[in-house]
Symmetry: C2
Subunit: 293 residues, 2 copies
């Protein structure tokens, strides 16, 4: 088996970005940290840390550090009272930006015993992080379960296509026709974001090529829509106030897009994460659209 004091040093260097900070965090000298990582690199036969400002993990290094964090999380469930209760456990979670912006944080806040490392990625891609073993859990659009994971249905996030009234009058005077879609600037979160083009295709009745602004921020999406920069799919809960006040209108009335979301958690660490899973379920169920039972 591995020497876990070496793995712990590796994880701390990658997390803190320096040998110095890692040494302070685990309470040994910097030369002990250097030596542990050197020994581990010799054993594995490959470089694990890219030395720099900050230091970062190589692919192999990140995999080993993730493994170490996972083992640490599993040890937590043993509950023999080892380890300091003052020292929170790092846990890495992939999450889509709109969940982070709307309902997830209050669930995380109920568990001060974790240090969260949130990887923000599209709901269609956050399951990839689970598959790669890079995260312990994910909020994802993938019903799964991904191999080795448990999957829980959270309900659906409701989106409305929204724009300012001035934008609609200027760019879509005849409503959301295919021709209007191909001229009116839309917004996209990043290359992975298909919400706008999928919704426009459904409404227009054929695939349309959208001119796109690109901006990767849930709140900036709402603000940019209000300012008339473009139209975009905004979560209902993030644009409710603007829709009520009239600073935003729907691009096509009564055409919501419901995106089902799932909480997937690696079975290896499902037990220590169970209290978190319960909080996530409770908050999601009160904030997302639930199917009629």
């Amino acid at each position: 088996m591995y020497d876990y004091s070496q793995l712990e040093a590796l994880s701390a260097v990658i997390r803190t970005g320096s040998f110095d900070a890692a040494a302070a965090q685990i309470g040994v000298t910097q030369s002990a940290v250097s030596q542990r990582i050197k020994q581990l690199e010799e054993r594995v036969g490959t470089v694990l840390v890219k030395r720099g400002q900050p230091c970062s993990g190589t692919e192999a290094g990140r995999r080993l550090a993730t493994h170490a964090d996972q083992v640490r999380l599993m040890e937590k469930a043993l509950d023999f009272g080892l380890g300091s209760p003052l020292e929170p456990t790092p846990v890495r979670i992939a999450v889509n930006a709109d969940s982070l912006a709307t309902w997830l944080l209050p669930a995380l806040a109920e568990h001060p015993d974790f240090l969260y490392d949130l990887i923000i990625d599209d709901q269609d891609h956050s399951a990839d992080w689970l598959r790669a073993g890079e995260v312990a859990a994910a909020v994802t659009g993938h019903p799964g379960p991904v191999q080795g994971c448990d999957s829980y249905s959270l309900g659906a996030m409701r989106y409305f296509a929204t724009a300012s009234p001035e934008f609609m009058a200027h760019h879509m005077p005849d409503g959301p026709t295919p021709e209007a879609f191909e001229r009116a600037p839309s917004m996209t979160f990043n290359d992975k974001d298909r919400l706008q083009s999928d919704w426009a295709k459904a409404v227009a009745g054929r695939p349309v090529t959208l001119p796109k602004h690109r901006l990767a921020s849930s709140h900036a999406f709402v603000e940019a829509a209000c300012l008339g920069i473009g139209w975009g799919m905004n979560p209902e809960s993030l644009s409710r106030k603007e829709l009520a006040s009239g600073s935003l209108v729907q691009v096509a009335p009564d055409a919501p897009l419901d995106v089902p979301l799932y909480w997937q958690v690696s079975r290896l660490t499902a037990e220590p994460l169970l209290p978190l899973t319960r909080s996530v379920m409770r908050h999601a169920r009160s904030m997302l659209i639930q199917e009629a039972e």
Copy 2:
């Protein structure tokens, strides 16, 4: 010289992510797009497009596409009335997340003749995008000017270290001592974010190793601070309401951190971007802290 119909096709494929969409956007057949890119790849002697879902540019492909976009932007300044006024010009800008969350969008909204491609990066790193020739302009912490760029001082973004009152009572009952910093969970945007550690070092009087949550969202930072997840540096303008209502308090009273920001714009495209530069200056000057004149 290059064949700009080939470069235009390359830029469209990288921007839209598919040969199909690129063809629709520039109004030629898909086979014409394929052929132009093939010819360009043969001429340059390297692969320019990674075929996939979506297609993306190789490093060489992205450099050529950025060059094409730059030339297009320069053509705009010639103002011979060529090109359709209906067709907005793509412009790529690097910006720090907190500027995007607070003051930048109203400036961008004044120029509907652009399609914005916003690269969100730390203010200490957004100048790298200019240096690499990947963006036409940047909001950056680097006074510069970066070679080939003009630099304009925008004023400073004021940050306060903030946390919930409950967080302070629990984690920092004796205030922000070095020992409290090393136990109380902080937040960091990403590995590049040094605001918290720099500020804590100044307040504690010595370098401290902060336990860190990682979450890359300006609004989530404020919400997580309110929920007691951790303390973090929040822009004054984004946390003013919470500080006034008492849901947030300052970790150390009267210890703001002012981060000077600059607008740097490539001289190649400074002229067509001048109206945008003027809007950016006007909005920044009313929203950021200006030095006494």
